[in-house]
Symmetry: C2
């Protein structure tokens, strides 16, 4: 590795499992933080059992835990070991149900006593307080309760979830932003703090411009397929070999589109005269456009539309994303590491590109307890005899 990461020297104790938490700590690890993932001896993170697998290793897990070191620790039996580690750590991240860390005696108040500068981030479905704080939190549940599902899908169809785990992702990103802000505050003041991040809060925040319609006008935004109320034609259209999107933002672009389609008669149709009318009559407008688009390939349509200045793009499936010369090529969004068990595995790269520091994948995800000796001895100063005893007692 030529360049070092921006967060070099930031030591993170990572108790998180499955998705939102590991996504947060992966962001920090990609940026160079020393993330030490702590897993239950014997079993580890539940995500180790999630498909797809490569030579028996979960690539779901390997993707989310790249760049981290891995140790095992039973938090019930090994509380004092954990507290010793907290003394020299900068950040602790966890995504247990609220109250679990208190029961274990390792909540923020306890950690603060051994390290007043510690930054403690709790990620949960609903937050640390409030009437639903004990409800189980899943991506699907945050999508349902944030209103995301209510505005996704066809106007005459059912509420629809976004296909990716966006609430887990947005929750994890929100936590990483909070942690980095807390690091900056501590740099300046020497004071640590606790962060309370909820998947649902994060999802609601992401819907801000949609919420605005209700907050100021009392209007409840509805599902409208791929169309927008701010402009038309502006949605998806069928090509001969796939689908495209295009976005006609104003009347000038509309004229350009009509010209490109060689359908001058559309300019005579009063229903398509203004943006407002085209929004109201978008379905019949779409039919005309598809008469043209269905006879042409995705590649030709996108090229011709972009050439006349109309924003357009192919609707890719995941294979097309992973093989695109811009995404996979120029932008290097997929990278390979060599894992001790799985062998060569491709994962999705960080999206952050920095001129002076590295933000990529430099280290495969750990096998369970892989770094026990190294981390307990060299990072936290436990003696080989102690580590041997921890192992015999099933603590690590």
């Amino acid at each position: 590795m030529e360049k070092k990461g921006a967060l070099q020297g930031v030591k993170v104790l990572d108790l998180t499992r499955v998705l939102a938490g590991p996504y947060c700590s992966a962001i920090l690890a990609d940026l160079g933080a020393d993330v030490i993932k702590i897993e239950q001896p014997g079993t580890g993170d539940d995500a180790r059992f999630f498909n797809p697998f490569v030579n028996g290793e979960s690539s779901y897990y390997m993707n989310l835990n790249r760049n981290k070191r891995g140790i095992t620790l039973d938090l019930k039996k090994g509380k004092d070991i954990f507290l010793k580690m907290v003394k020299s750590a900068d950040v602790v991240v966890e995504n247990f149900r609220p109250g679990v860390m208190t029961k274990l005696g390792v909540d923020y108040e306890s950690l603060k006593k051994v390290n007043p500068q510690i930054i403690y981030a709790a990620i949960s479905g609903f937050g640390q307080h409030g009437p639903y704080s004990q409800w189980p939190g899943y991506d699907l549940i945050a999508q349902a309760m944030s209103g995301i599902m209510s505005v996704t899908g066809e106007a005459d169809g059912e509420p629809t979830r976004a296909g990716g785990p966006i609430c887990d992702v947005i929750g994890g990103m929100t936590a990483s932003i909070g942690i980095l802000a807390a690091v900056q505050y501590r740099n300046r003041t020497g004071v640590g703090q606790m962060l309370d991040i909820s998947l649902l809060d994060s999802a609601v925040a992401s819907m801000a411009i949609i919420n605005q319609h209700y907050l100021v006008d009392g209007r409840i935004p509805q599902r409208r397929g791929n169309s927008y109320e701010s402009g038309a034609p502006m949605e998806s259209y069928k090509a001969s070999d796939g689908d495209i999107v295009l976005a006609v933002g104003n009347d000038k672009m509309w004229k350009k589109l009509v010209e490109l389609m060689e359908m001058p008669e559309l300019l005579e149709i009063p229903e398509f005269e203004t943006v407002h009318k085209r929004v109201q009559n978008r379905k019949s407008c779409k039919e005309f456009i598809e008469q043209w688009s269905k006879k042409r390939t995705v590649a030709d349509l996108v090229k011709n539309l972009l050439d006349v200045g109309i924003p357009a793009a192919p609707i890719y499936n995941i294979a097309q994303v992973c093989n695109d010369p811009h995404i996979a090529g120029a932008r290097n969004m997929f990278v390979e590491f060599d894992h001790p068990q799985a062998g060569k595995v491709k994962v999705t790269n960080s999206a952050i590109r920095m001129s002076e520091t590295d933000a990529g994948v430099t280290r495969p995800a750990p096998v369970l307890g892989q770094d026990n000796e190294d981390v307990y001895q060299n990072v936290f100063g436990f003696l080989p005899k102690e580590i041997e005893d921890f192992r015999k007692e099933g603590i690590i």
Copy 2:
């Protein structure tokens, strides 16, 4: 305000417009950074013309630009003024098409000459380099090309966009993470840098666990409505007065659900015997569940399901989100400010809750050029006479 923000003292020059860029700088402003939004004299950010409006002021704009100060500057005529401001700034954020800042003579290389410590974040649709770098970037386009649309929607339906502007939001969040990492690096080394953040890269990164299926198995993930391949029943179901989601993760929970529904005969149906079989026969499984759920209210269903330990939630519309006692009440996700033109306006709050620092909305969005005198004179040291001349010449 009792507490100060974590990013107090970080000075951000914000050239961004519309959504992804302003979302990024709003995150920084919510956390206490001094964000100075720079707009074109006379017109300002395009978002000032986006609905919904309150007393003529765009609440779309007001939501995205809360907590920021606002000044005007014509970057073509006022290049030297901008360079003088960069000397004492920490961060510059822009979301122009790649190349625009170079043409204006205010690209990273130029800014670095006047302030080697500057952190410069460029947010664009496709990134600063690569074959598509000049394509226009919109949320819809990033949703199409990242594969998000390909996996959102019904199995037999069309590719569907997520209803919120998730690619703009995730792009803005990615930029804010990069900026905060760069601030930390500069604290330690004194070295500034440039960040190249793309909406498409950010969206592709958010799809990591979905991409994994193709990257390691060559399988192309498909749309599957609200269902999952990892478990069933686990999707949306109709109630008498709305919709719910529930998530049965294993056979034990399935037995609990059957018990709750008082349909012991379901345990005798071989098609529902294992998770794998229920996933394959999820449609007939859903029919049985809806026989039960359609006769009950959302509130009763969610309560009864949670009581027996089955994750469940209502599917909210935006009005329900904005009035929920947990979201709007305990978690305080909607806040009001008093705007000089619009009066009292409600916007969506930050999702970050910190114990020692404030991360809320403390200041309404600026009217165009509102802080010209204060900022040019008191922050950057221009004389009243100079500011008067700038105004006469149409520079500010």
